[in-house]
């Protein structure tokens, strides 16, 4: 019994030694031993082999279904103006056909509903969770998959849990300690150090490999950083490369402990639930933060909810009314290595984190875009759209005008009337001669 105990202690000590010296310390210094990149390269080779095997398997078994990541239908046919104009200036029965076709097309495949569930991959990446359509192909593939399960759950998962626990406790302890110091530049420097090292450890805890592009465009103090939102891990990804002031609601439990300790060392902006409802109070607090030019840049996700990283949805204009320079950032996750999207209606936070820690890895591309400011004659909504298009363009994501709030709510009535107005203007514009009393057309 004693021998067993001694062996267990010995193993545990060796384990902690490996973790601390080979992973944690280099991570804190921002260095890398290169293990992760080798791992990723091996993984890519295996996944490519798996893809070829699956394609071969599909040829042999024609009943295996094909995934369609780009949607079900091809929208042929012109816009409203093109379809209607040749038919004549009058209203005709067949005009309605344009709307019928559009309507049925929306029933078959619409742009919005698919954004709130995980992206369907073009080829299986050997994780059961992305297995929507794939059937049994071959023995070798199943063996590799089994090996993958063992590696992910047996080897990587304990490692990642250890690192995350260390990282979070370091955050709480470190920020509390720094909080005791008086306000000075030393305190600021120390607090930034603590934050960055902790986030680096957490990033290792997810096996995250982040490629930062255009780092000279990084957000400066007194600015506002906006980004597309896929998962709460976005925060870890961005904070690895700079210090931000977080914005959010005050939570209870573990999150609350983290929030309270973080705010001791540097000013984050946490709102009570009652304050969130008052938009002016929120805007004023943020404005005050930005106006103090020596405070850290604020990190905001204007979409307001998690989208599945294939598109960018409407940026809420509230963030753009604060003033100051906007530093847009585009984040794109590589879906082959793990599905980073947090479907909050399907998974709660804990099961989501467990899923993340048992994926292959998280590979991200982060692009810093040049800063933008509101221009003359532009209102907040137009500015928001401009920033959104820039982010979507850079990240290779689809630029949608829909509101992320549709995940939980219905379409606003004002939008429903847009199409009617457009059609009316076509008809009355052309039949102005028949109805001299018709009201003037507004476009």
């Amino acid at each position: 019994m004693d021998d067993l105990w001694a062996v267990a202690v010995g193993v545990f000590q060796a384990w902690m030694f490996v973790v601390v010296f080979f992973i944690m310390l280099p991570a804190m210094c921002g260095l890398s031993l290169g293990v992760t990149s080798v791992y990723i390269q091996i993984l890519v080779k295996i996944l490519e082999w798996a893809t070829l095997r699956i394609q071969r398997g599909r040829q042999e078994q024609p009943s295996v279904p094909v995934p369609l990541p780009n949607g079900i239908i091809e929208r042929v046919g012109g816009s409203m103006e093109e379809e209607m104009a040749p038919a004549g200036a009058e209203f005709s029965l067949s005009d309605a056909l344009f709307f019928y076709k559009e309507g049925v097309e929306s029933i078959v495949d619409d742009q919005v509903t698919q954004r709130f569930s995980s992206e369907e991959l073009a080829s299986w990446n050997l994780l059961t969770r992305t297995n929507h359509n794939f059937r049994y192909i071959s023995l070798r593939l199943t063996v590799i998959w089994g090996l993958g399960v063992f590696v992910r759950y047996g080897v990587l998962f304990p490692l990642r849990i250890t690192l995350t626990v260390i990282g979070l406790s370091w955050l709480v302890i470190g920020t509390t300690l720094v909080g005791f110091l008086p306000e000075s530049s030393v305190k600021t420097w120390l607090s930034e150090l603590v934050h960055v090292t902790c986030y680096r450890i957490c990033a290792r805890g997810l096996s995250a490999t982040v490629h930062y592009h255009n780092r000279d465009n990084r957000p400066q103090k007194g600015g506002i950083c906006v980004s597309n939102h896929t998962t709460p891990i976005d925060v870890v990804i961005l904070a690895n490369d700079g210090c931000y002031a977080m914005v959010g609601q005050v939570h209870g439990g573990l999150m609350g402990v983290l929030q309270r300790s973080m705010v001791r060392s540097c000013p984050h902006v946490w709102f009570e639930r009652s304050e969130m409802r008052d938009r002016h109070a929120v805007t004023n607090r943020l404005r005050a933060h930005v106006a103090a030019k020596n405070k850290l840049p604020i990190l905001i996700f204007p979409e307001g909810t998690c989208i599945n990283n294939t598109s960018v949805m409407m940026f809420k204009k509230g963030s753009f009314e604060i003033g100051g320079t906007i530093h847009p950032v585009a984040i794109k996750y590589d879906p082959r290595f793990g599905d980073a999207f947090w479907n909050s209606s399907k998974y709660n936070m804990v099961s989501y984190l467990l899923r993340m820690m048992t994926s292959w890895a998280i590979v991200v591309n982060v692009w810093y875009l040049p800063p933008m400011t509101i221009q003359e004659g532009e209102d907040a909504a137009q500015f928001a759209n401009r920033v959104k298009s820039a982010v979507a363009h850079r990240g290779g994501l689809l630029d949608l005008d829909w509101d992320g709030g549709l995940k939980r709510g219905k379409v606003k009535d004002s939008l429903k009337e847009e199409q009617q107005k457009k059609y009316s203007s076509i008809i009355t514009g052309q039949s102005n001669m028949d109805d001299p009393d018709s009201s003037s057309v507004t476009t």
Binding site: Q59, S92, I107
Partner: protein, 216 residues
Amino acid sequence: MGALQSASAHPEYGDLAEKTGFSIGKIRVLHKRFKQLSHNEETLRRDHLNDIPDLACNPIRAQIVEAFFDRRNYHQNGEGPVQEIGFEEFLVVMSHFRPPSLHMTEEQRENVRREKLRFLFNMHDTDNDGTITLEEYRHVVEELLSRSGALEKETAKSIADAAMLEVASISMGHMEPDEFYEGITFEHFLKLLHGFEIESKMNIHFLNMDTSTLCK
């Protein structure tokens, strides 16, 4: 384990394929979409379709949704509305929008035309009396035009009246002053849309889902 199911989990796809003319691949994809829309329930209701944001912006969404719940479109000679539909009915209504296959005889093409025009006619003829009356026609014009307030209700009404008059003159020739035009019957409807290429306009192009395209 979901990964290792056998491929023939849905033998009824074969029957549906024969009935509607869709290929097995397309039926599978549409079934997935059906389950997504109905939130994994067995039947679809009107409010499931009303939840689609793209559809909410369509001025005649009410008619489109009704078409799915209208027994006249199920090819079973039934009539009247239903409250909820299963996948089979969904597929049958969808099949009206299937593009005509390339190898069709003239007669088959004519049948396809008639079917599609019948579908369009049913959408206008809401009380199912076999004619599109002036009231029903006005209703469609209003839905399309005036609710947004860009057009006065009176203007929409006069547009509908003018169009109806033209229809009457085409189908009935010259009318006596006391003759009453009851409405557009299906035969008139066919005559009106005689030149209209409905079989090419009323189509939804499905992306090619057959596995044969994967072979390189």
